[in-house]
């Protein structure tokens, strides 16, 4: 990641989340520079025309519905030069939804292998980022981390079409990454609920990071 994005000032994000900065060695910095060069060349290649191959690795279908809405007249992905292609051989970007079930692991990897270089991978939703509500379990792998080299993660459950467009444009460097501590536009207040009984409910099993 380009250094200037890492050093983004935090004080202009009022009362909000900070980003954890992982420790950087000299090797990491060299890697960051190489990535920046690669990013710029990817941007040159895919700036005007990007073809996406979508793979559903076990999603609940809400992400697919949002992706399908991208070609609706409200969002019209084609005006940005982004298209869906049926063949991975013609694809520049692999768009993955779902938490990667065991049955889809093989087909997903074969689809990635069939794509020519340079290729990008974008993980859609909470499922691709970490398994979503399904989490790593005996049935699902729990996300793309460690399975494919992911270029962009788009959080959400499901991410709205606008969030998807932003993520796709980020993958080809047409927009700037904003999360270094998210701002809170349009904050919505949720109504409080009575937590009956003891305030601390016994916690149900949640999957922790392996």
């Amino acid at each position: 990641m380009p250094d200037e994005l890492e050093r983004a000032p935090r004080q202009n994000l009022p009362g909000n989340w900070h980003i954890a900065v992982p420790a950087r060695t000299a090797d990491d910095r060299a890697l960051a520079e190489a990535s920046a060069r690669l990013q710029r060349s990817i941007e040159r290649l895919f700036r005007r025309s990007l073809h996406i191959r979508h793979v559903d690795s076990g999603s609940c279908n809400a992400c697919e519905s949002e992706i399908k809405q991208l070609t609706s007249p409200y969002y019209d992905l084609h005006r940005l030069g982004i298209f869906f292609t049926p063949s991975p051989r013609h694809a520049d970007l692999l768009l993955v939804t779902g938490p990667v079930t065991h049955a889809m692991r093989g087909p997903l990897l074969r689809t990635y292998d069939a794509m020519p270089d340079p290729r990008l991978v974008v993980g859609v939703g909470a499922c691709a980022a970490g398994g979503g509500v399904f989490g790593p379990s005996a049935y699902v792998r729990g996300g793309l981390e460690g399975l494919l080299p992911v270029d962009v993660y788009i959080p959400g459950c499901p991410p709205t079409p606008l969030a998807l467009i932003y993520g796709l444009l980020l993958a080809v460097n047409r927009v700037e990454q904003r999360v270094h501590g998210a701002s809170s536009e349009l904050a919505i207040a949720m109504p409080p609920i009575q937590v009956s009984g003891p305030r601390r409910e016994p916690q149900p099993e949640t999957e922790e990071q392996p």
Binding site: H54, V55, D56, S57, G58, S59, C60, N61, A62, C63, E64, S65, E66, I67, K68, Q69, T71, S72, P73, Y74, F84, P86, S87, P88, G98, P99, T101, H102, A103, M104, R105, G106, P107, L108, L109, T111, G132, V133, F134, G135, P136, S137, A138, Y139, V140, R141, C157, P158, T160, I188, M190, P191, I193, Q194, S196, E201, P202, P204, E205, P210
Partner: protein
């Protein structure tokens, strides 16, 4: 005294229901099962408080005889068959049947032993096939005479004895060792034939071409595999292979409480999320004797219908995409987006996630928001009517749907097709009308039924249902009662079981929960509409269809593989 009277009256009720059930059987069946019914009447049955579910506890022999008789009876149909670890004996077998007149669910509970074989019911009801395979793979219950007893859903690399119903999540994880990456690249389901008496397709003679499609398919589609066998253009055979999206929802639900189970149920199939959350919440409320306020019931109806509306609009858009009517696709996509945006504004989620909660709904729309809903519903009514007319007057679209992918009414009945697909093939069933929930008992709506069973009928049924849903939404807005939208502090049920049902946009969904002493889920069973219909899908492909009809047929069914696989 009052207790005794109530016990007597409830017993009388049970007896009345059992007699009504017996009256539906054929003469000879009644005669053959007379002693069985006598046994049941004297003991072993209960009726849930609102009379919707008759729970029959019987021995395995009695239960299977009853099942065999009832499944073939006119006016009863298979709703679900599953196993549980608890209750009578090491395993309990649960058979759920829907009955039409009187309208009720018949829930037969029988003990089962893992090593004792059950006789298959596939000979009387072909729909039993997948349910029995699941029994075998999930609980190890052997079913004899099953034409194709192979794993349906579980990952291929799991060992033989990894039975999800018999093990908790930790044991299952230990048995399957699934936190490690599977050794072989072929961790996927082996590509074999579906379950009927023919196993794999032998390579055909010269001139026969087999097209394997999927699981990664062209377009933004769910993962599923098809094998289409053609001679020239004509499709002569078809195989369906699902289970690529099996995420183990039922296992995921174990140990969850009432706060979290709707969140998981919503994501069984995201486009029917509210419906599944509704079924689960109603099941918990029924079990806990929680009375949901009237306003909440009406709001739930409103959200359920909004979900149905956007699903059906998206369906028409997808169907237009399949037939190449791009203008139609764009127009319906616009309408779908309008409804999704309304959902987001009303509830905070475009797919109504997090809206249905135990005891009511999480959001109470303001009067301005309700006015917006009313405005959109009115505008949609005009537009759907207008677009529908244009759509079914477009020869390029209608020609591809007419006579394509016919599901015969006899097949739909034998295989227990549900939802709009069943209704397009003559199955006059709608859970909202037959087993009313939320506020449907107080609202007026028609259930469109056609008999041609082709893609055109399925599209028409869905369009008519969209109009009916808009009509329902208007009625809800007119009649919306005031009051709380949520019970303020409801006790979650514990140490009991609960049945929930819903008419999701794709059809009838059944949910069953068993709760332990601390109110956490000990067994969760989901039978989605797409699971019931997926078995029937292959019947509509071979015969009179050409290869290029296949995308149209597939889109006209619009199965949710996420729902079918869970």
């Amino acid at each position: 005294m009052r207790d005794m009277l109530s016990r007597i009256s409830s017993h009388a009720n049970v007896e009345a229901h059992l007699r009504a059930l017996r009256a539906k059987l054929t003469e000879e069946a009644q005669a053959a099962l007379a002693p069985l019914f006598e046994r049941l009447i004297s003991s072993g049955c209960e009726l849930t408080p609102n009379g919707s579910e008759l729970i029959i506890r019987a021995s395995t022999q009695d239960g299977m005889a009853l099942a065999r008789a009832l499944i073939t009876t006119e006016g009863t149909y298979l709703a679900d068959l599953f196993a549980d670890r608890h209750d009578v004996g090491p395993l309990a077998l649960h058979l759920l049947l829907g009955v039409e007149a009187p309208s009720m669910w018949v829930h037969v509970v029988m003990p089962a032993e893992p090593d004792v074989a059950l006789a298959s019911l596939v000979d009387v009801s072909p729909a039993m096939s997948w349910y029995e395979r699941e029994l075998w793979e999930e609980a190890g219950i052997v079913v004899s005479d099953h034409p194709y007893l192979r794993r349906l859903r579980l990952p291929a690399h799991w060992p033989e004895d990894a039975y999800p119903v018999r093990h908790g999540p930790d044991e299952l994880l230990a048995l399957t060792g699934s936190q490690a990456e599977p050794e072989t690249a072929e961790a996927r389901i082996p590509l074999v034939g579906i379950d009927d008496e023919r196993e794999e397709l032998d390579p055909g003679p010269e001139g026969v071409v087999d097209y394997p499609l999927g699981p990664v398919r062209s377009g933004v589609l769910e993962s599923g595999h098809y094998l289409i066998r053609t001679v020239g253009e004509e499709i002569v055979d078809f195989r369906l292979q699902l289970s690529y999206k099996h995420r183990g929802i039922e296992q995921r639900a174990l140990g969850l409480g009432h706060l979290h189970i709707p969140l998981v149920a919503e994501r069984i199939s995201g486009m029917s999320g509210f419906a599944h959350a509704l079924a689960v919440c109603e099941a918990l409320e029924r079990a806990g004797g929680v009375e949901v306020p009237a306003r909440a019931r009406y709001l739930r109806t409103l959200f359920a219908e909004l979900e149905r509306i956007y699903n059906h609009l998206g369906y028409q858009a997808d169907l237009c995409q399949a037939t190449g009517l791009v203008v139609g696709q764009a127009q319906f996509d616009i309408l779908k987006e309008q409804v999704l945006r309304l959902n987001g504004q009303l509830t905070g989620s475009r797919y109504l996630f997090g809206t249905c909660v135990f005891g009511g709904v999480a959001v109470d729309p303001s009067s301005e928001q309700l006015a917006q809903v009313r405005a959109l519903v009115a505008s949609l009514r005009r537009k759907v009517h207008h677009l529908g007319k244009m759509l079914f007057n477009s020869p390029s679209h209608v020609d591809r749907l007419d006579g394509t992918g016919i599901l015969l009414p006899d097949d739909a009945r034998a295989w227990c097709a549900v939802g709009p697909i069943g209704r397009a093939s003559g199955q006059d069933r709608d859970t909202r009308r037959d087993h009313p929930y939320a506020a449907y008992a107080e609202l007026a709506f028609d259930v469109p039924v056609l008999h041609e069973g082709d893609a055109l009928a399925r599209a028409r049924v869905r369009l008519d249902e969209t109009i009916q849903s808009l009509r329902l939404a208007e009625q809800v807005l007119d009649k919306l009662p005031s009051g709380p939208a949520r019970v303020s502090s409801a006790e979650a049920p514990r140490d009991t079981s609960a049945l929930g049902w819903v008419e999701s946009p794709r059809g009838e969904g059944m949910h069953w929960l068993r709760l332990d002493a601390s109110g956490r889920i000990a067994r969760y069973r989901v039978r989605t509409a797409s699971f019931a219909n997926a078995q029937t899908f292959p019947l509509s492909i071979p015969g009179r269809n050409i290869l290029t009809d296949f995308p149209v047929i597939e889109q006209s069914w619009a199965l949710s593989y996420a729902g079918a696989d869970r």
